[in-house]
């Protein structure tokens, strides 16, 4: 299989512009800027069928198309590098090992949506990535690929690197926009959507790092070529982040639609301890519903996972063997969301804290009859009633853990200890 996103990462000094150029880099943005109109670029991306890699899986071409064409306001391109979902570390590899792939994608994307100012919003904890990107952007300016009149085409683009301050919620696109504006990062009500009213009330397009890193290859080899990778409606390769009780954790670039079993047992090398059995897998970062061991034949793509009652999310695959107490795991996940809830809207602010306290009590052996139902009910009351998806992200794992491992919760309550 031909690698798209990780083809350069094993080269020496892969983060430098010279290595990137010697590998054929910055050819796509030249092609786009010199031989294609912005609409042709969008068309090509639409043809590729690529869906957003940030979690929601929205088609990128469609998203670019939403940015109004005849609008006198300035347009903005934003790269969401606030990778914070527990179990996810795929964007980091691109940022640290191949930053120019991302920058090239941003330049092409900005050209397509007629933006002359682009942002990379990187999470504050990625200090190393920040330094690399800073250097990479400076190099790109030096080569004349950023700035005024790029490659003599008359296209101007500035790229601003913006560091987050440590809030998970700033990875939500509207909170991210507030954060870039210098405000407290609170998600906004939608509609209006960013394509109409985004940063500083101007049309804004936000894409994930991994999504944008696909753009140079799509432009170079064509959307047609890209759409043949993976499965129908789930095209392209994907960076899968394997972690948990597994022999070879790490980032794997493989086509969308690969069976989860193959990922865990072939690529990941199987269970960490051979005498342990697989118990559960979270397939898309901690916010998505958990899968049980007998569900591992599911294909890892947007549609198949949705059919299986979960989500591809960020493809942060967390593997759990039979030593894991599911009450404890649920508590750990819920604690994260309770801590990261922005506190803006009622169900998420109050509900995540309540779930966390309930689970803490159950985990400590002070659970009471009816607590499992109450927990499930609280999660259900959060689901779908919040401003942004963080409420759902907190509720979905709780509901799925209770649904699939109810006997463990009940055991914990009646025996005041873990089942495992």
């Amino acid at each position: 299989m031909e690698l798209i996103l990780t083809k350069n990462i094993h080269k020496l000094n892969s983060e430098s512009i010279d290595v990137y150029l010697s590998g054929g880099g910055y050819r796509s943005h030249e092609k786009a800027l010199k031989t294609m109109t912005p609409d042709q670029v969008i068309e090509e991306v639409k043809k590729s069928g690529i869906r957003g890699r940030g979690g929601a899986g929205f088609p990128m071409g469609g998203k670019w198309g939403f940015v109004p064409k005849d609008d006198s306001r300035p347009h903005y391109m934003v790269c969401n590098a606030d990778e914070s979902e527990p179990g996810t570390f795929k964007d980091r590899i691109i940022i640290e090992k191949d930053p120019h792939l991302l920058i090239e994608g941003i330049i092409i994307g900005s050209y397509a949506i007629r933006a002359h100012l682009a942002f990379i919003y990187i999470r504050g904890e990625y200090v190393h990535g920040y330094n690399i990107l800073k250097k990479a952007i400076a190099e790109t300016y030096d080569k004349g690929f950023l700035g005024k009149n790029i490659l003599g085409t008359g296209f101007n683009l500035d790229l601003i690197l913006h560091r987050g301050a440590g809030a998970y919620i700033c990875g939500e696109e509207t909170a991210l926009m507030d954060s870039i504006e210098g405000k407290r990062g609170n998600p906004r009500l939608k509609p209006p959507f960013p394509a109409q009213i985004g940063i500083f009330k101007n049309p804004t397009n936000i894409n994930n790092v991994e999504t944008l890193a696909n753009v140079p290859a799509i432009i170079e080899k064509g959307g047609e070529w890209y759409s043949k990778i993976g499965r129908a409606n789930n095209t392209g390769t994907k960076l899968y982040c394997l972690s948990g009780h597994i022999k070879r954790p790490g980032v794997y670039e493989l086509p969308l639609g690969i069976p989860l079993r193959e990922l865990i047992y072939n690529h990941g090398g199987g269970m960490l301890q051979d005498d342990r059995k697989l118990k559960a897998v979270i397939p898309g970062g901690s916010s998505v519903p958990v899968l049980t061991a007998d569900q591992v034949d599911v294909l890892m793509d947007f549609d198949s996972l949705q059919a299986a009652g979960s989500m591809l999310g960020s493809a942060g695959i967390i593997v759990m063997d039979d030593s894991v107490c599911m009450v404890k795991a649920t508590h750990r996940i819920t604690k994260f969301y309770a801590h990261e809830s922005c506190g803006q809207c009622t169900p998420c602010r109050e509900g995540t804290g309540w779930m966390e306290k309930l689970l803490r009590r159950m985990e400590a052996g002070r659970g009471e009859n009816g607590d499992t139902e109450l927990l499930y009910d609280v999660a259900q009351n959060i689901l779908g009633n919040t401003i942004c998806p963080l409420g759902d992200a907190a509720a979905m794992p709780v509901m799925s853990f209770v649904e699939k491992f109810r006997e463990e919760f009940e055991f914990h309550i009646s025996n005041k200890r873990c089942m495992v």
Partner: protein, 526 residues
Amino acid sequence: MPTLRIDGKEVTVENGTTILKAAESIGIIIPHFCYHPELSIAGNCRMCVVEVERMPKLQTACSTEVSDGMVVHTTTDRVVNARRAIMEFLLINHPLDCPICDQAGECRLQDYSVRYGMASSRFAEEKVKSVKREIFGPHVIYDGERCIKCTRCIRFCYEITKTGELDMFFRGDHSTVGIFPERDLKNDYSGNVVDLCPVGALTLREFRFKSRVWDLKKVNTICPACGRGCNIIAWVKDNRIFRLTPRFNPHVNRSWMCDHGRLSHEFLYRSERLVSPEIMNAERRRLNWKEAFDCVTDALKSILQNHGSGSIHLVVFPFITNEDAFLILKVLKDVFPKSTVSIPIIEIGEDDSLLIRKDRTPNRRGVEEIFREVSSRIISVDDAAKRVKEGMIKSLVVLGEGLTGANDCNILADTPISPLEFSLFIGSFKPWNANDFSAMLPASTWAELDGTFTNFEGFVQRIFPSVLSSCESRPLWKIVQELGSRIGTRCAFRSASSVFEKLAEEHQSYRELRYFSLTDESRIKK
């Protein structure tokens, strides 16, 4: 113009109207905490969720704009259950201290609990602790445990006063409204955040713990503290005003009032009231009204005989009502045909961009409008003082000073009164130079009166008596009428309304205004 159905009722509204407003227009009130018509949409309380057909999720009515053919349900089981859930969430960390909470009786949490609350709590954990009595500013105090984080107060400070003292601090269930370091919530409108707060988190330091709100009687009236004439409600118990709150009037003050006005009732209880007529007659004596009128009439008559009406000067403070001014005008025309008049200017600071007028009198526009007929006789206070010195003015009549309780304005400071042959004071509170006056007659304060004020934009607005006079005071126009008729005018009005009807009949600007049918939009003609 989209047409939609809400709970089976069809309604057509303007483009861009929200579901909440559309529902309101046909009498369907959707419960809400964070939504306020004057502030931006926050959509954070989630109480106003409704079901919209063909939309998978429940939608917040406050933020969702209507579209043609939309079908909205506001009372389905799904909606009611969602609201029950929201109420449960809001109450789990709430202290439930209604018995000692000032908001009790006008609290949205209480009101909605009746319909959407549960009888017992399912919450068995420890509640989140927060600040209990953080002082935000001179008038406002904050209880973080009662707060439901609706951000109305924050939005008010950003959007209405544009001072931005407040914001949300911390995250999740520890988030709390806070004040930025080294700032105080001391803008001129800080009291409004207390009115905005749908729960008992923000309380007015001057009112908290003073009374349960259900014990207070509400009287709609007008703020006397400046030329704006904000529409207000006076909250009264035991013949005393406990607090003033703004009353919505889209043309005058919308939903707000300033802190100065909000506390203007305190003047009523701070200054020494003139309780009965007092005459300086060898020794100071308190008289009854009949004796006092006899004395004052005799004195005025003798001045008229000896020096003519040109020697009498009137100082008319624009704290008085239009009715008072009309009777004074009658006297000026009928019995003091050559007397001069001055209308002191009482100004503090500058006009601001929201409500506050530098002119701190409530009825300057009305008094000037009514006195237009005698405008040639209006002189400035300085000129009047000069004429006193030159001996042209032998007698001074001061009307209306302190009628609103704001008698700390020392307008007469430079005008010596004692050398005058006769000086008469008609007002509510003892002036600082009370000993210099020959006679003082107690008038009712704005809080004890029927009448009208004309604001600086010409809106004619009724004031209502909130309290009964606790002393022998009478409305100023009645005192003037009595004096006038003893000297020679012919009028016998029995009520403020009859005075106003006559004013409307005689005065061009007030024509067509009817006392009992004054509305928010009633204003004098240009």
